[in-house]
Symmetry: C2
Subunit: 440 residues, 2 copies
């Protein structure tokens, strides 16, 4: 049966309504989960290791006498790497190298301390320093994503984070060799087979065995997301990800099979993933539709892909590429492919996107694994105000100010005037005490 993917045209009278319907997505708050997570976090905070042991036995079926038994020795991470078939190991290491190179560049360009002195000799600047210790949450169970280990741990490592702690649940005790190997390649310092809200709690508050971290990053299920939200403030967190999305902006010159497969590659993640094509060429849209129907049956994950495309996908005919760019800006997609022979013509028009993939050869999947940039990207329109995970997420800045004696004379008068206007007299006096004519 052909895929019943929604088809819209911006020229339709009811386009805005239909388009809003396509975009609509809201994460329901599950109060039962919220309450469970609150309880688990409180328990881990109070009882530490004992609580972590109990929850890990209950949720993952892992029994142990101490949390220390859940630590995976560095040797085991290295052994997992050594155990891989050479081709797979080489792929993992090649991807890690490229991701490392890109983030190293990011560090060099935007992540260094800077300062300058003004005419008075006053020094102003920012000192950029890495976080001391971060925790990386890696989902376990059915789907295991070694690429996620690389994308979270490598920017932290490049930033110079002192210690990287990985947690990964292993329900039933099953450890994924690729995930452990990725941890070895990425330079994870310590790893624990822990998961769920209890792992987030252990990282946020620390236990006798699991050290407290300064920030927790990485994806997880609803319990993990809720726990991260709750510990925010005690520690930093990365964004809470919604369903993954791709928007393909096509001028009709890319082989339709390529575009169809790119839409599939997003749709295969899960049924809530969203794949949208924007194109000013109706005949091309028909070709992509034909490719979708022809290629789908051979895909192992065809059921998920179909459900995603039919539930949340759309093929949208636009009046022009310019209009397609405008609509893309309204969506602010996580992944944006500009599948065009002239991508640099359109790129300047694109204001909001997690990652922009330029030209027909740049399939999203290359970026997901090994082009170099991070695959952790803002979802659900949050690219309007947030950014890919990067070295900057594992650094923080401190302002540096050294006012010279001459500078204090000039600045002191200004500061005192403004402080008095705000009724903060001690602020004013502290500035005035540094004025020469008043102190002598």
């Amino acid at each position: 049966m052909n895929v019943q993917i929604r088809q819209l045209a911006t020229a339709d009278a009811d386009f805005d309504t239909s388009f809003q319907h396509v975009l609509h997505w809201s994460e329901a708050t599950d109060h039962a989960i919220e309450q469970r997570v609150t309880d688990i976090l409180g328990d881990v905070r109070t009882r530490g290791d004992a609580a972590v042991l109990e929850y890990t036995e209950r949720f993952d079926g892992l029994k142990a006498a101490s949390v220390a038994e859940f630590e995976i020795p560095r040797g085991e991470l290295q052994a997992a790497l050594a155990s891989l078939p050479p081709v797979r190991r080489q792929a993992l290491e090649a991807a890690a190298d490229r991701v490392r190179d890109y983030h190293q560049r990011q560090l060099e360009v935007t992540g260094r301390s800077w300062s300058y002195r003004d005419a008075d000799g006053t020094l102003l600047g920012q000192k950029v320093t890495p976080l001391d210790r971060v925790g990386i949450y890696v989902p376990g169970g059915k789907a295991q994503y070694p690429s996620s280990v690389l994308m979270n741990a490598i920017p932290a490592k490049v930033a110079g984070v002192g210690e990287i702690i990985m947690v990964v649940p292993t329900p039933g005790g099953e450890r994924n060799a690729m995930v452990l190997a990725a941890a070895a390649v990425a330079g994870v310092d310590r790893a624990f087979t822990l998961g769920g809200a209890q792992a987030v709690g252990a990282l946020a508050y620390g236990t006798a065995t699991v050290p407290a971290v300064d920030k927790i990053t990485g994806p997880g299920n609803a319990y993990v997301a809720s726990a991260k939200r709750r510990v925010f403030g005690k520690v930093g967190i990365d964004m809470i990800a919604g369903p993954s999305e791709i928007l393909v902006l096509a001028d009709g010159t890319t082989p339709p099979d390529w575009v169809a497969m790119d839409l599939f590659s997003q749709a295969e993640h899960d049924e809530m993933a969203q794949s949208i094509l924007l194109c000013p060429d109706a005949a091309y849209i028909a070709q992509v539709r034909e490719a979708i129907d022809r290629l789908l049956p051979a895909m192992p994950r065809h059921e998920v892909i179909r459900a995603s495309l039919e539930g949340r996908g759309a093929l949208i005919l636009t009046r022009s590429m310019e209009e397609a760019c405008e609509i893309s800006n309204r969506i602010a997609p996580e992944h944006l492919e500009v599948s065009s022979t002239d991508p640099h013509r359109w790129e300047p028009l694109l204001r909001h996107a997690g990652a922009i993939f330029l030209g027909a050869f740049t399939s999203e999947s290359l970026g997901d694994y090994c082009a170099g940039p991070n695959h952790v990207l803002p979802t659900s329109g949050t690219a309007r105000f947030s950014s890919p995970l990067g070295v900057y997420d594992f650094q923080k800045r401190s302002s540096l100010i050294e006012v010279s004696e001459a500078g204090a004379q000039k600045l002191g008068t200004i500061a005192a005037e403004l402080a008095y206007s705000e009724g903060l007299q001690a602020h004013a006096r502290a500035a005035e005490l540094r004025l020469k004519d008043l102190t002598k």
Copy 2:
């Protein structure tokens, strides 16, 4: 009566316990406030202007026929500026100039797009763009802080934000000339006399009159903080600030009166503000204590200062400056003064702080108003993982990837191998379709 400020010494047997006691601060969650805020936000989201009108009448005593009446025309902002005494106006403009210069430098050094091509011709980089529209919350009522307008609006303006919307509650209709003048100087585009959770809701969801923004920054009371937490995800927010803190690390060479006044300038904010002195010289600590007792009675806000110093302040004798630096890192203070003749000896040892003020002439108050760096800084130890407000908070990044045909050959093999290992066959096929030997 002398100020009963706590005095500790790191050599004390019970130092760690006493020190933890000094640092302890936890924001209680007020469930009544949480519920009220949830209701208000839901109401503003559903009923828009009508709800905003009702809440503004109820909470601020302002009656109007439409929300448009709450908009302050640009002309009124300019008129407020023109109405200021010349000295005050000059101080405001001089401060704005310095804050603008510093943030301009920040933009130049760390806020520009960058890209490079690797040997295959593949382009990698990041495009940095300003947010389209931001909302700035300015507290109203008794305490009015024009400096806060400058510190929030100027970085947004320097970042290139398209439109800056200010909201400021005016209970009873009283408008503060300095706040309006600061909005004019900082380049605020539109201003509304709205406040509380209803203003946050209007900015986050948009109403017929108030445009929806992409991010909301600025301090507020418990209702505002709760509302910001709740709209986070729909829009970006800055940090939720705790009480303000200063840590003075003194080598005993700064006039004790200066240090005492710097401690006061933090303490005068409110009773929960925290002022701590770390010093290896017991005689100097005694001099500062004497200065505190001598200077306090003349301070207009002496009651607040006393309550703050006695409730949350501390004078701590350390074994050395090195130990003082270590303790400072445990605190991760918002404001850190290195009051020493050799501040650059100690600065490299200081890993966590919102802003570091180097040398005796650099009173915190100069930084609060006009040195140039931002005065919105991470509080309550969050300097371990977060940064001063900056141009970067009003920008977002998009990864740029343009894989060349040659690059697609190399990357495709790697990506496909990893995608198969994760069971994501469409990802693998999308990469493989770009391989020449398979596509021909």
